[in-house]
């Protein structure tokens, strides 16, 4: 593995989707992953909303970090500042969607406020700092992480729709079986690990 600046953005994109998937490798953003994966349609809606917010907030936070936080030596405040930026940008994204893309707002609208507190959104902003990504790499990292999260929740929802009609042992229904499925999915995703070596 070379220095971070040497990694091709496309590699980062693919790695974020497959080898270091936000949910299945890092186990971030689990709450909505478990609770909103009953139905494929809703899960996909949430996945799209997460992707959009991830992309926008990582880019904003990259500029905030490199032009405000780092020059002023405020690294110890980055958790709070990233969260504030995420909260504000989600508000604005919601208003903008409602105004210009009402169709999309109908589909994503109810999820957007929920996403403000999704830990994977904060997670990728922090990863981007730790891994010292450039602006371009950050764009691809944000996009890839979002797509990866979307892929994972859609896959889980599809599986859950299939098993919804099956009889499960008492106590394993709902979240129980969902955690087991998530575990197996995470194992399956390990299979991608050999293809790309990015932390």
């Amino acid at each position: 593995m070379g220095t971070p600046a040497a990694i091709h953005p496309i590699v980062i994109l693919l790695a974020a989707i497959f080898t270091s998937n936000m949910v299945l490798a890092n186990f971030l953003g689990m709450c909505p992953f478990i609770s909103v994966s009953n139905e494929y349609k809703t899960a996909s809606g949430l996945g799209k909303a997460v992707s959009l917010v991830m992309l926008v907030t990582t880019i904003l936070n990259w500029f905030l970090y490199h032009y405000v936080i780092a020059p002023l030596g405020l690294e110890y405040l980055r958790f709070i500042l990233f969260i504030v930026v995420i909260a504000a940008s989600v508000q604005i994204i919601e208003m903008a969607l409602d105004r210009y893309l009402p169709e999309l707002h109908v589909k994503l609208g109810i999820f957007l406020p929920l996403i403000t507190v999704n830990c994977s959104i904060l997670g990728i902003s922090l990863f981007m700092v730790i891994r010292d990504y450039t602006a371009l790499q950050t764009v691809f990292f944000g996009l890839g992480s979002g797509l990866g999260w979307w892929l994972a929740i859609c896959a889980l929802a599809a599986i859950r729709e299939k098993i919804a009609r099956n009889k499960l042992p008492i106590g394993l229904g709902g979240p129980g079986i969902t955690f087991i499925i998530t575990g197996i999915m995470a194992l399956a995703f390990i299979g991608f690990a050999g293809t790309l070596m990015i932390q």
């Binding site: 405040l77 504030v84 930026v85 504000a88 508000q91 208003m95 409602d98 109908v106 609208g109 109810i110």
Partner: protein
Amino acid sequence: MEIVQTVLSISLISSALAVVVVIADRFLNDYGECVIDINGGNRQMTVNGGSTLLSALAANRIFIPSACGGKATCGLCTVQVASDVGPVLPTEEPYLSEEQVNEGVRLSCQIKIKHDLEIHIPEELFNIEQYQARIEKITDLTHDIKEFRFALEEPAELAFKPGQYVQIDSKPYGSVTESVSRAYSISSVPSDKGFVDLIIRLVPNGICTTFMHEHVKEGDTITLRGPFGDFYLRDGADDLVFIAGGSGLAPIKSLVFDILEQGLEKNMTFFFGAVTKKDLYYVELFQDLEKRYPNFRYIPALSNPAPEDAWQGDVGLITDVVAKYVETPVNKQAYLCGSPGMINACINVLTGIGLTEDEVFYDKFT
């Protein structure tokens, strides 16, 4: 030094973002002036776009029934929208039947006004007004039920049909920071002009009932809206069966007293269900009516009387007691008010006796 720097940088960056959000709100949420046309030109109003239909109508003194205050949890604020306002939202779906969706019925609290709208609402909603009322008297009826007598201040009179309800707006108290609207049936009669009586049972952890029971006193001013509801006397039958439990006595009291006052030729039987004697109230009032009016009968029943109650009356679930006294469905109507469980059980008993569904009227607590 570091503390000052920390506080300053967080405040500055947060304020900057807040300003951005406010500016974005100003530009993105500004939909200009929109015209709302009600019932095909019957009324027209100009409102500022960007707000919800429910709040825009309320600002123009048209009060659509709503018990949750615009959070899409009660499903009462339905309005027929003739203009295109986009597909039904996931938040509305649980409250709209397929038929309603086809007719364009929507929850007005979920519709954001972005352009001119054409809507249809029942004419009687035009009669709904908002009132400022002073609490004249608070009476303890049982250990958890109080009666509130309101003197209407502005406007001074409320014309309603016995059985209808009003909404109260609670005010923030203690750890409750929000104001909620809740519906309560009127227990007084329309001839008692200038006053409205409500009977409110304390619901554990209920925001509005706790407010009314513990945070208001005589002399306080409260906001009321009404009258709402389609639970009122219908023509047709001469034999009326009233069944109530708990604070469900309120609309029944209004109906019974109004019928007696009007001198209508109706035979009335009033079943009141409670658990023990301490849950009973207004017993003497109704027993006195029974003595004075041969066409009124009062049957209180206890499901689980305590030994010290020395209860002489009927014992058993209200459904069993109703089944015991009501024999024939001929020329009958039933009016029910109480918990959903009680009402559903009573509807089963009444239809079992032979009443049809359009002879049974009810007001379920939600």
